[in-house]
């Protein structure tokens, strides 16, 4: 984090600070417990393979939490997340390095509102999850 951003200083094309995750199966179990999503494809390899999956896969909602973190890390204590969306384009698996980035695509200076595109890229360089956040920032 590099301090509170103000709407006056934000420009289209600005990059948000990167969030990098390297989830383990342990984290998937931790997330299953914390979220209440006990779908077996996230922790039971035999079950996941029987469903035609390569192995256990990461909860979509966990990936969405990481993309939301890109926006919330950046917007600071005085920022407000107004809306947030994600699309799951492909599955992700544990023990991969997942890089979450954000870019400012629209700035409404009068309303203090900023729209950011978000992407999650796997270790092979493939974008598996995309999203968008709308954040309201303070004025100087």
């Amino acid at each position: 984090m590099s301090g509170q951003p103000y709407i006056d200083d934000v420009r289209v094309g600005d990059d948000l600070p990167v969030v990098v995750k390297r989830p383990t199966t342990r984290q998937l179990v931790q997330y299953a417990g914390a979220s209440g999503d006990f779908h077996e494809i996230h922790y039971d390899k035999d079950f996941a393979v029987a469903q035609g999956l390569p192995g256990v896969i990461i909860h979509g909602a966990l990936k969405s939490a990481w993309l939301a973190q890109v926006a919330t890390d950046w917007m600071g204590a005085a920022g407000r997340l107004e809306s947030f969306s994600v699309r799951y384009r492909d599955m992700d698996v544990p023990n991969d390095t997942l890089t979450c980035v954000g870019k400012v695509v629209e700035v409404d200076g009068a309303a203090g509102r900023v729209r950011c595109e978000l992407t999650l890229t796997n270790g092979a360089g493939k974008v598996t999850t995309t999203g968008e956040a709308v954040v309201v920032l303070p004025k100087r």
Partner: protein, 143 residues
């Protein structure tokens, strides 16, 4: 009309627009702490406020989908949140989920049933703290 290969049954179609049971849940401080730990987010605002996707952990009281056993494979498709005032430990959240729409599409792995659910979260002051539209993809068992 449903073709013999359709995954969309008349009973499923009849469920569109119907809400699941309304439920109330308390936002527990420890639950917010564990959720922030599980997602690996050390934001200093937590747990005095809950992370944006925390509400999903309060359950969705999702209405039952008739004939769901015919399409047992379930994957997340998309999720969209709109936020109101912050969610804090101690809040009593009323939540209701409606099956908003059902449609069918041919996918890489055969016919896919795409369901949109909308969940509305209202706090003890009557403020809508969030709405979430989640898109769930259901498929037949693999051959």
């Amino acid at each position: 009309m449903t073709s013999p290969t359709s995954t969309l049954t008349p009973a499923m179609q009849a469920a569109v627009g119907k809400p699941g049971e309304r439920r109330t849940a308390i936002v527990e401080w420890g639950a917010v702490v564990r959720f922030a730990e599980a997602i690996g987010d050390g934001n200093p605002a937590y747990p005095d406020v809950a992370p944006p996707t925390f509400l999903r952990s309060m359950g969705r009281a999702t209405p039952d989908l008739p004939d769901a056993a015919t399409v047992p494979r379930v994957l997340d498709g998309a999720s969209e949140w709109h936020y109101g005032p912050p969610v804090r430990p101690g809040d009593a959240i009323d939540l209701t989920t409606v099956l908003e729409s059902l449609r069918e599409r041919e996918g890489r792995m055969g016919p896919m049933l795409i369901a949109d659910y909308v969940t509305t979260y209202v706090n003890q002051r009557g403020e809508t703290v969030a709405t979430q539209r989640s898109t769930v993809i259901r498929m037949r068992r693999s051959a």
